[in-house]
Symmetry: C2
Subunit: 190 residues, 2 copies
Amino acid sequence: MKSETRKNDIIKTAAKLFKSKGYSAVTMRDLATAMDMKAASLYNHISSKQELLKTIVVFIAEEFTNGMRQIQASEKSNIAKLKAIVALHVEITAKHTNGMAALNNDWMHLEDQLEHYLQLRTEYETSFLDIIEHGIASEEIKPSNPEIIMFSMLTTLRSLYLWMPKKGRLNSQELSQNLSDIMIDGIIKS
Amino acid sequence: MKSETRKNDIIKTAAKLFKSKGYSAVTMRDLATAMDMKAASLYNHISSKQELLKTIVVFIAEEFTNGMRQIQASEKSNIAKLKAIVALHVEITAKHTNGMAALNNDWMHLEDQLEHYLQLRTEYETSFLDIIEHGIASEEIKPSNPEIIMFSMLTTLRSLYLWMPKKGRLNSQELSQNLSDIMIDGIIKS
DNA sequence: GTCTATAGAAGGATAGAC
DNA sequence: GTCTATCCTTCTATAGAC
């Protein structure tokens, strides 16, 4: 049988290369070189370049969706839910740092799975916005524009993959705490 | 003489295409089709695909650098400087919405100009961090991790291009104000 | 499971007619 | 200034030997 770990190595290496120059600019020869093999040999483990993208993006996107569903269903306050979302991003980004690049930047190159991805993304953003709007309604959150709040938080969280590798010394819990403090409590000393 | 506006049209169209699928995935045939001409004809106005990327990225990067230098040299408080940075991003993003995509996502495909770009980027980030650190020292800003603050603000600001087009109804000043409020004062109702 | 060889499509860019 | 034709390179993927 084909070694699943070999296939996993290829996917992980692909994710790393996609992070460094994007899906379109990475060639199967690049990937083969990084794996110390020839391009043709890759096809003994995977069926296409597209399969690599699909595997990386859909897997992570589904992890986010599952995490968000749990947070939504919980009994937490809305502020606590936002903090849980921060922790979710930190956790998934720590686990799939390289894959996050493809999720953020290369999803538009999905073929068969594009629609599925977009559904997950829309569901995620709708839930996020919903929590913020409930938080404003319950007077936990200042009466600001909820879409700007979501945009601000979500773009910061989506970019964590670029920045967490440089901050290896912070553990996940400390980083989540710091991010929540800054994004939720603000930075001004009042 | 060659029409400069024709060349500008090509650059603008290229920026739009780069935004939608990234530099590497855009072909000269794509660009020609969008311009309603043939690929070969493009070369009467520009010398290469690389020139398009270079023109877009370096021009905007220099605009950011100049804006930051002015802010740094001003007599404002550090919080006021941060607000000026927010306004700078909103303003430049409004003017070069499509080009911002290449600046953020395709800079690594620069050839000759890569080093120059990286210098500008480092200078910009150093200034940004410097303002935050001075703000903490002067007790305008809470004693948080300055790099996390910069990361959080800068990634939000860098992603504005994705989101401003959907918010056409907000004018630049309102948007700057809202973003400053959220990022600086926080969202929690205390 | 990896290789060499190569098919077949698509890419950036040029030559030269109009 | 735009076109057709085409060069040459590089790409993804397959065939078939080992």
